[in-house]
Structure formats: C-alpha cells, structure tokens
C-alpha cells in the first residue's frame, strides 16, 4: 500500500513540473505587465529600470528556476494588477469556488443518481424518455448559455434570485462562507445549477448504463432466480455494483467542475478563483495565472491519486496489477 502511494506520488511530480514549465513559459511573454504597472505616462528609462528590477530581462531558465523555488514555498510574488500577494488573493477566493463546486457536485449527485437508477430500471417509461431527452439537452447546451438563460428568467423576468456575486458572507477564521446567510444561499442557486447541470446529466447517463450492464449480469439473474424481491435485487445488488465507476467519475468530475467554474464564475461574476483567473488573463497578470494553473494541476493530480487509492481499496483485482484497459 505504502509503496503504491509513493510510486503514484513520484509519477505525479513530473506532471506538476511540466505544468509548471508550461504555465511559466505560457505567460512569461504574454501582454506587457510593465506597461500596466507604469500606467499611461512613463519614460523609457523608468521602463528599463522596472524591467530590470522585476527580473524580466534575465534568461528564461533562470526566471523559471526562481519561479519553481518560490512556488514550492507558496510564494508567487505580487499580482501585477492588484499589487497584493498572489497567495493571499487565491486564499481569499478559494472558499467561493470550493463552496460553489461542492454545491454543484452535491446537486448533481442527489438528482443524477436517482434519475439514472430510474431510467435504468424503467427503460421504456415516458418519464425515462423525458429524462433522457433532458439529459441530452443538458449535454448539448453550453454552460454559458444555460447561465445567461437562467439569469434572464429567474433574475430579470421573475426577480426571484440574484444574478451576481455571493450575497452576504460570514467569516469563519480564514474561511468566508455564504452557507449561513439567506442572501448567500439565494446567490448560490443559479450558479450551482448552471455548473452542476452537465455533471448531473453525465452521472445520470452513467448510472443508467451501469445499471443496464449489471442487470444483465449472471449474478443478478441468479438473484432473481432465487426469488429475491425486485427491491433487494435493484438496490442491494445492482446499485451497489454500479457505485464504483460512479464514485470514480464523480471524483474525476470534481476537477471538471472546478475547471468549468471559470465559465460559470464569469457569467455570474462569482468572486472565485476562476473569475480571478479570467480577469488576470485580461490584464496579463502573470503571477496570478501561473499560480492558478499550478494549483489547478495540483488539485487534479491529488484527485487522481485519491481515485486511484479508492480503486485500489474497492477492487481487489487491481492489487495484482493495472493491466486492464480504461473504463
């Protein structure tokens, strides 16, 4: 077990390093941070001095090594745009993104799994057909369109829900939460639906497919033959066996949720990391962008690691070797 974890972590390191290289290389030459910092009026001498002091005139690899060294200590320098430590900016915004992602994931699970089970069991009922059509629309509608339409209907026409921001937040130590106020909860509804819809349909279709596979399996037929009631067969045997791939996908989708949060946060002006990222791209704010990308890849690598470990714990066959092709 320990050796397995160590080997996984060792495999993750080169990934992080290459992402670091990419994110650094990617943003090292975009935009012109110097001009942004200097504003509208400056002389060439002021400009050269600033370039030199920021180290932007040093060789690429030297800049990169400095970058890695600092990043390892959580030090990403000052945001060019806001002149505040990047680590602080990200720490301030992380709660917003995480609460949104968490709510969206819970929503997707709570609605997606029952819908998947239902459509798997009652393949030909009209409700199943409705769910399936609905899920196809969910997959076909781009996130940004869903967000815009929700705002149009629920915020502008009906005026029920707020269209932007997090509402009032409560500070709990370093964390700010919107879960404890009415306006915070109301503000969460539309973005969470927007973000969770795609995952919801995905989970539903996945659960359905797994249910169909499992219901055809011999041991189910056997269980039926033994005269077990439908209920016991469906929920005791079938659902239990569909859960492994569902857990995996949901785990992996947590990453997707955080990535798609970029779009959702942009549409709803949700003050999270995704919005920070997009705003930083617009201002060529290199330190923030690098930090965000490194952080995101760290999150993904961690999620992947945990999913691997879960697999390992759940499926004994994997302990012999992972020769089997992907799902």
């Amino acid at each position: 077990m320990f050796a397995f974890i160590v080997s996984r972590i060792l495999q993750a390191l080169p990934v992080l390093l290459s992402v670091a290289l990419i994110s650094f290389a990617m943003f090292a030459y975009v935009g012109d941070p110097v001009a942004i910092m200097l504003g509208q009026d400056y002389t060439q001498a002021q400009r050269d001095a600033l370039v030199a002091e920021l180290g932007l005139d040093r060789p690429f690899w030297v800049q990169f090594a400095t970058f890695i060294g600092n990043a390892a200590q959580g030090e990403f320098g000052l945001s060019y745009r806001l002149s505040r430590p990047v680590a602080d900016l990200i720490a301030e915004r992380a709660p917003a993104t995480l609460e949104l992602a968490f709510t969206a994931a819970v929503l997707a699970l709570l609605v997606g799994v029952p819908m998947g089970v239902y459509t798997g069991l009652y393949r030909n009922s009209w409700l199943s057909r409705f769910f399936l059509t609905f899920s196809l629309i969910g997959v076909s509608l781009p996130t940004f369109l869903i967000g815009i339409l929700l705002i149009l209907v629920f915020a502008v026409w009906l005026g029920w829900l707020p269209s932007f921001g997090r509402g009032d937040t409560v500070r709990l130590g370093a964390w700010t939460t919107g879960f404890l106020t009415v306006s915070g909860l109301k503000a969460l509804v539309l973005p969470a639906i927007t973000l969770g819809l795609f995952q919801l349909t995905l989970i539903m279709r996945l659960v359905r497919a797994e249910m169909l596979e499992v219901l055809r399996a011999d041991y189910i037929k056997f269980a039926r033959a033994r005269g077990l009631p439908n209920r016991a067969v469906h929920f005791g045997h079938a659902l239990k066996n569909t859960l492994v791939p569902v857990i995996t996908i949901v785990g992996l989708q947590l990453g997707a949720i955080i990535a798609f949060a970029i779009v959702t946060e942009t549409v709803f002006q949700w003050p999270g990391m995704g919005l920070l990222f997009i705003q930083s791209v617009g201002a060529a704010d290199i330190p923030v962008m690098s930090a965000y990308l490194l952080l995101i890849s760290l999150v993904f690598v961690t999620i992947n690691l945990i999913v691997d470990l879960l697999y390992y714990a759940v499926d004994p066959r994997l302990r012999i070797g992972r020769g089997k092709g992907g799902h």
């Binding site: 495999q11 990934v15 990419i22 290389a25 990617m26 943003f27 090292a28 030459y29 975009v30 196809l136 629309i137 997959v139 076909s140 509608l141 781009p142 996130t143 940004f144 369109l145 815009i148 149009l152 502008v156 169909l212 055809r216 992996l252 990453g255 997707a256 990535a259 798609f260 970029i262 779009v263 942009t266 997009i278 791209v281 990308l293 995101i296 890849s297 993904f300 690598v301 999620i303 992947n304 092709g325 992907g326």
Partner: protein, 304 residues
C-alpha cells in the same frame, strides 16, 4: 458502388435508423445545418464579410415577422447591420469546420497511438496510457484553453491572427485524443489475440501491415461512435473558447463568437442577435449527439 448501397439499405443499421423518428429528425436537422453551412457562400442572402455592402442604417433591424422588421433580413441584423441569418450560416461553417477538423485530428492521433499502444505493448503502451490517464484527469476544455494559451504566447500577435483557426483546431484536437487512443487500444488488445491475427503473425506479415489491414478495420466501429459523440463536444468546446474571447478570430466569427457579441444586446431588447445563433448551435450539437447516441446503440447489440 450500387452493390454497397443496396447492402447498406438492407442492413440492420438502416433498419434501426428508419425505425427511430427522433433519429430521422436529427439526421434531417443535421443535414440542414451542414448543407446550410457548406453552401453558405452560394445560398446565404447576404455576405456579412463584404464590408462595402454593410450599412449602419440597417443595424439592429428585428426579424422580418415583427413590426419593424425588413423583408430583406429574415432573422434581423446585428449592431453593424450584418444579416443575422447569413452570419449564422457563415458562422456555422466556421464552427463545423473547427469541430470536424478537430475531431479528425483527434481521431488520427488517437487511433495511431492507440493501435501502437495496443499492438506493440510494453514500455510504449505504459507510457502512452500513462499520458492518457494524466490528460483525462484534466477536463478537455481546460486542456484546450491551455494549449491555445501556449500557442498564443509563443506566436507573435500578427502571425497568430492568420493561423488562429488552426490553433483552435489543434488545441481542441489535442484535448480529445486520449478517448480515441483508449478505445482503440482496448479493441486492439482483443483483436490481437484472435486467431486470424496470430495466424498472420505466424506467416510473417509485418507488424505495421497487420495493424493497418487486420486490426484497424475491426476497431473502426467503436471509433466511429466515439467520433460522432465527440463532434458535438468539439463544437461546444470551440463555442466556449470563442465565448470567453480566446477562440477563432473575430474576422471569422463562429457561432460562439456571434453569441458573445450578441450577449451584450440580450437584455436591451435586441434578443435576436444572440438567440438565433444560440438556437443554431444547440440544434447542431443536439442533432449530432442524438445521431451519435443512436449509432452507439445500433452498433452495440447488447443494449438493444
């Protein structure tokens, strides 16, 4: 040729197609989208790229059936006086071009690497599958954003403007290849151990030839399904990138670009500028997805 056609119409595939009205409908919608896009230069009522034909006087005309609409502009005009219908046809052309090219690119890359991994095995297999694993943990849209960003950063602005379309195709293609590689590798592993392949190997047929002429034809079915399902996704990825402002250049607006531009006018009453491109995008993606679903079910008799 006629023989092939006859065989096609006699096939199970055609039969199941005609049996499903939803599938037929989506095929028709998809056909309209594709034909409208492909023949846009000949059948579109206006050419939105001919600047000399634009007139600011014609801007913000609502659709023809409304009170202030003009017969000339069926779906209205945008802020520069461009005909929305024509802009959609030209835009769908760009969206389709990017979607199809990206999918073809991803397919070629994924199939070759998947075949290689599955048939050769060993270290190459582990390496390729490890890369797949890693990349699959990143959502494809994020990968596309990243790749697009890298290329943008590397290329000077003027050069980038000329090849931006290819950059987007490349970025989306790169973000989708692992699915194909996984699928093909899985099927290849199965095929590899079948007797005819073993036999071919015993009589000394070269590896490359076995892969291409024996294994490949037998894995093409699943690839077709993945490709169809992927086309809708690729079109959506392009739309999202363009909506965020990092997709195709504004001189060649895709449906995503049109939606982004129109979004500014959504609440001000000029809804047609964004709604119609949005509807076109959804129709296109939905019909392609439905066809993909049907194809998957039809080719996988277990599910019938």
């Amino acid at each position: 040729m006629a023989e092939t056609l006859r065989r096609f119409f006699d096939s199970d595939l055609w039969f199941s197609f005609t049996r499903s009205p939803v599938t037929v409908l989506s095929a028709i919608v998809a056909a309209i989208c594709i034909l409208g896009a492909v023949f846009a230069p000949w059948i579109a009522p206006h050419n939105p790229f001919d600047l000399a034909s634009l007139n600011l006087i014609d801007a913000f005309k609502p659709p023809a059936w409304t009170e202030e609409g003009a017969r000339d502009y069926v779906l209205g005009t945008d802020d520069q006086g461009r005909d929305v219908l024509s802009a959609i046809m030209y835009g769908a052309r760009v969206s389709l071009l990017v979607g199809i090219s990206a999918t073809v690119f991803a397919t070629l890359l994924g199939v070759s690497l998947g075949l290689l991994a599955g048939y050769v095995g060993g270290a190459i297999d582990s390496l390729l599958m490890r890369i797949c694993d890693i990349q699959l943990t990143f959502p494809s849209i994020l990968v596309a954003l990243l790749v697009d960003g890298v290329v943008r950063a590397v290329l000077p602005r003027e050069v980038h403007a000329d090849i931006a379309l290819f950059v987007v195709i490349f970025a989306i293609g790169i973000s989708e290849w692992p699915k194909f590689a996984r699928t093909v590798r899985g099927s290849t592993l199965v095929e590899r151990n079948k007797e005819y392949v073993q036999a071919a190997r015993v009589i000394g047929v070269p590896k490359a030839r076995i892969m291409v002429s024996h294994v490949l034809p037998n894995v093409i079915g699943p690839v077709l399904v993945v490709a169809t399902l992927n086309l809708g996704l690729a079109i959506l990825s392009e739309a999202t990138l363009s909506f965020l402002g990092v997709g195709v250049p504004p001189t060649q607006p895709s449906l995503g670009t049109l939606i982004r531009i129109g979004n500014d006018f959504l609440f001000s009453g000029e809804w047609w500028i964004t709604i119609f491109p949005g509807v076109a995008l959804i129709a296109m993606v939905l019909s392609v997805n439905l066809l993909g679903d049907w194809l998957r079910d039809a080719l996988n008799p277990k599910l019938r």
